[in-house]
């Protein structure tokens, strides 16, 4: 196996998480940042690290239905993330709009603008479901790199 391939295969064991709030009601954010990412659920055992800068991110978790006000900013931050990146939609809002669907200020669902790799539905989803989404993102990352698990 070539060095490049080895590095790529090892790389998926270090997914660094980044969170974007696209106009969420904060329910999913509470479930994501202050429940799924705390020591009790130990997201670090998958090699994850919660990072503050989009430049360091690999797995980007998006919450919220993408409101008109926040749309351009979300897209801008999303484009700041270096490739390869995996997008995880957390909660029902980014997937379909949820209870805000067809509201006057809603631009979502989010896959009109961004390629979404993993959907984690729920209002809000359980922390275990979010962690499963992160683990699923790892296998999708491998596929994106052209390697099968």
């Amino acid at each position: 196996m070539s060095l490049d391939k080895t590095l790529k295969k090892l790389s998926v064991r270090s997914p660094w998480l980044f969170r974007i709030n696209a106009g969420s009601c904060n329910g999913c954010d509470v479930e994501l940042a202050t429940t799924a990412c705390i020591p009790r659920y130990d997201v670090e055992r998958f090699g994850c690290r919660y990072c503050g800068s989009p430049r360091h991110a690999d797995v980007v978790l998006i919450t919220g239905p993408l409101t008109t006000k926040v749309r351009d900013r979300v897209l801008r931050v999303w484009h700041e993330i270096p490739n390869p990146k995996i997008t995880v939609a957390v909660g029902i809002c980014p997937i379909s709009g949820g209870v805000f669907r067809e509201g006057y200020s809603i631009e979502g669902p989010i896959d009109r603008y961004l390629p979404v790799d993993v959907n984690v539905p729920g209002c809000p989803p359980r922390p275990q479901a979010i962690l499963e989404g992160v683990v699923l993102a790892r296998s999708i990352w491998l596929k994106k790199l052209g390697l099968e698990e």
């Binding site: 080895t6 590095l7 790529k8 790389s11 270090s14 055992r45 503050g52 360091h56």
Partner: protein
């Protein structure tokens, strides 16, 4: 010619280069693992720092449009080079006595702040306001923790210089002689006059490594990693490697200054002993402190560093001077 070749080998394989990287990354992996265990969770595998670096090498490099390109690209290389050279000056007691046997405390004192300066350079070149804030915090913190370090080095040098008497005048700054003197006359870490200096060095460690409670410059919750904000991919990997080298340098320097005793005349045993001492020092001064504390504000950290460790180091300095 052979001297140059030997110096390059020392920087590339042992104790700099490969050995320092392996030990530094092992320290970082163990640090994360022990911290996880203290929080009653499993934690990442011990090879996690290697995995992170492999991941960063496969990522895309992005340079902000408004950044000063040359300085932005140069900063991580600058920090890496400084630490790679510095690692070759660190003696491994009983195995290796420092580059050309001239490992000098003052050279190390000048090389040590280079990674912090690289961070400052990269942060200000990135044109990000968070980078600029991180720059000013890093500079303040550096000013604060370099003072006690200099006083600790000075008290060690004065004590050894006084005891060597006729051979040297006043202070003795050669690491080789400091280590040799301690191997004959007992470690300085158990010398009552030097215990305040040892404490000051232990307090200096988390500040220079930028870990909690002194991770003020890279605070990811408020400054979004500060100077590292715009770095990603291979450039960030270079910063990680520099930090691993720095871990080796500051731990190795602590061992050389305070506990350079050997337990055998056979070098592999001494090498293992050195690694064990490094790990013990790291767990005590970095991991335990990190997992038990939050983060200081910059003004609190500055005030803390210019009072308590300076006072401790001053105690040692006065005790040594009166001896």
């Amino acid at each position: 010619m052979t001297d140059t070749l030997l110096a390059i080998l020392h920087m590339a394989i042992f104790p700099g280069g490969i050995f320092a990287l392996a030990l530094g990354f092992f320290c970082k992996g163990l640090d994360r693992r022990v911290e996880a265990r203290l929080q009653r969770r499993v934690g990442p595998p011990l090879i996690q720092p290697w995995l992170d670096t492999a991941k960063l090498l496969t990522k895309e490099t992005m340079i902000p449009k408004t950044a000063c390109r040359t300085a932005f690209l140069f900063a991580p290389v600058f920090g890496f080079t400084g630490m790679a050279v510095c690692a070759a000056f660190i003696p491994v007691p009983g195995v290796y006595s420092g580059l050309f046997n001239m490992g000098d405390l003052l050279v190390i004192f000048y090389l040590l702040p280079i990674p912090a300066m690289a961070l400052m350079l990269g942060g200000s070149a990135s044109s990000s306001p968070f980078g600029a804030l991180g720059f000013s915090r890093e500079m303040l913190l550096m000013l604060a923790y370099e003072t006690p370090l200099l006083m600790v080095l000075l008290s060690v040098a004065m004590l050894v210089g006084k005891n060597l008497g006729a051979e040297s005048s006043g202070a003795e700054f050669s690491l080789l002689k400091i280590v040799a003197w301690q191997q004959e006359n007992g470690s300085l870490g158990i010398n009552p006059a030097m215990i305040p200096a040892l404490l000051a060095y232990l307090i200096f460690l988390p500040g220079t490594m930028g870990v909690a409670p002194f991770d003020i410059a890279e605070a990811e919750t408020e400054l979004l990693e500060g100077p590292l904000l715009e770095y990603g991919g291979p450039l960030l990997a270079l910063f990680t490697v520099t930090s691993a080298f720095k871990t080796f340098v500051v731990l190795g320097l602590g061992i050389a200054l305070f506990f350079p005793g050997t337990i055998s005349s056979w070098w592999p045993v001494n090498l293992v002993w050195f690694v064990l001492k490094c790990l013990a020092l790291m767990l005590l001064a970095l991991t335990l402190v990190k997992s038990a504390t939050g983060r200081f504000r910059i003004d609190q950290a500055f005030r803390f560093y210019v009072t308590i460790p300076v006072a401790l180091a001053l105690c040692s300095l006065v005790l040594v001077w009166m001896m």
